[in-house]
Symmetry: C2
Subunit: 288 residues, 2 copies
């Protein structure tokens, strides 16, 4: 099945779903983009923003003709929707998603009947603002879009989703759900918890010294930015990727302890060696 | 003494000193900007970049006519230079600095002879790149420039340095060296240690999963950015603001432990309450 002749139904039109809809509409990548939303007003907004050709609140109506269904809700909602919505999906259709944690979602997909194709997905991009109002058709451009197939994912489903990913300007990266979840615990969820911790310490410190907010410069702003991420999304992530995140937090605590140790020992040389290696890695990492 | 008829000598032409020189030259804010550098080639670079009218390696020659001396080297170098360079400074001149930790520097300034004016200073801005090549005359624009007077700071010294700060486009904020050092431990040095910790965990995780670097998106980049800060500057900061930073790291560890506890207990409501308050604070903080 080719994407060009497919009806794509996106479930949930927040930052991710909305941006995907806009990107597909703009690229003329498929036959029609349909958006399943919860409220009538949301449907109007979706159409006004050009994020879909059709927007409705009725699941059956929106899903029954869909060739490709993209679930773009928080992780635990996606896990539930995979089984709840499949009864409206026609034989031969493919279900994918945009959720941040993949193991549970892929497990739910593995329980789908064989006549429905399925493949987990996660675009590696975001914003500290959420909702359709922040959606941007260029959100995925040059970003990595992780695809996490399971044993039941057939080449046809993979190919259809890959074509959609390419239409948004993203680069696909195929890896297992388990590997994905460890990786994002480190490069996405740990940064969130650290940003949150920084904000909490600052909040405490500000009780006696309110002037810290005025003194805070770009370093603080950068490091704390993602503490403003969407709450429902983040609570779902902390719940569904718990073990991996706890492991990363354990490593982070050990890292802080190590710096505390070097500082307490006034070991300038040890600090310099450690920080120097980290600095070189950071500089080398994102030259572009 | 008015800045307009003053000779300003900047000691050290890295990111901070170089940017200050450029800003003062560009604004035509003083009679002459002179730059004291360590190497002949640096003198040529300073002049080529328009960061001073005169650049030399001879301390006596550069300092003996200066009305305002600005020390723009790492913290411990400034502490040493306050006493080492004062013998070249004429009676009635004012010494200020751009160092990141103020208590030790202000203590050194308190030992200056009474015929030299003195006032600690710290512009709250930076970049993850360092050196004259990164200097920018607009670096201070709309930023806060902390001024930390001691009992010996007279109104004349304060006024001269304030005029210089205003000429760069910065806003001055007067506070004690002690208050400054607690504040920056929280809003500048803690973010650095957390960024560094994040990079270290990522480095460890990448040993088994090198693909994390390709998956890392803007959240990771923002949160780790300042791990690339200048090393000598940061080691000096960790050494001279040790007690305040250790206290902030203790608070951060407790903050992480609290999140670990809520996650381990699968206390979604507790997590949501905690993260919600922090998120609101972060959103409210930097609306501009």
């Amino acid at each position: 099945m080719s994407l060009a002749i497919s009806i794509v139904t996106i479930v949930g039109m927040g930052l991710m779903g909305g941006s995907l809809g806009m990107a597909l509409v703009k690229a003329g990548a498929c036959k029609e983009v349909r958006a399943l939303v919860r409220r009538e007003e949301a449907a109007e907004e979706v159409l006004a923003q050009g994020a879909a050709h059709v927007a409705e609140t009725d699941a059956r109506q929106l899903l029954e003709e869909a060739d490709l269904v993209v679930l773009a809700t928080p992780v635990r909602t996606i896990e539930a929707q995979v089984s709840e919505l499949q009864r409206f999906v026609k034989s031969g259709a493919v279900i994918t998603d945009m959720g941040s944690v993949k193991t549970g979602i892929v497990k739910a997909m593995d329980n789908l009947p064989p006549h429905i194709g399925a493949l987990g997905g996660h675009p590696m991009c975001g914003k500290e603002t959420s909702g359709l109002a922040s959606a941007d058709p260029a959100l995925f451009r040059k970003r990595v879009w992780a695809l996490t197939p399971s044993k039941r994912t057939d080449p046809r489903a993979l190919s259809l989703v890959e074509t959609m990913v390419e239409a948004t300007g993203a680069r696909r990266m195929v890896l297992s759900a388990e590997k994905h979840d460890t990786a994002v615990a480190c490069i996405s969820h740990l940064p969130y918890v650290l940003a949150t911790t920084l904000m909490e310490v600052a909040k405490d410190t500000a009780t006696n010294q309110p002037e810290i907010w005025e003194l805070a410069a770009s370093g603080f702003k950068d490091t704390s930015r993602i503490a403003a991420s969407d709450l429902t999304m983040m609570v779902d992530i902390l719940a569904t990727n718990r073990e991996n995140i706890l492991q990363m937090l354990h490593r982070a605590s050990r890292g802080i302890d190590r710096i505390v140790g070097l500082m307490t020992d006034e070991n300038d040389e040890g600090l310099r060696d450690m920080l120097s290696e980290i600095r070189d890695r950071r500089i080398g990492m994102f030259q572009s």
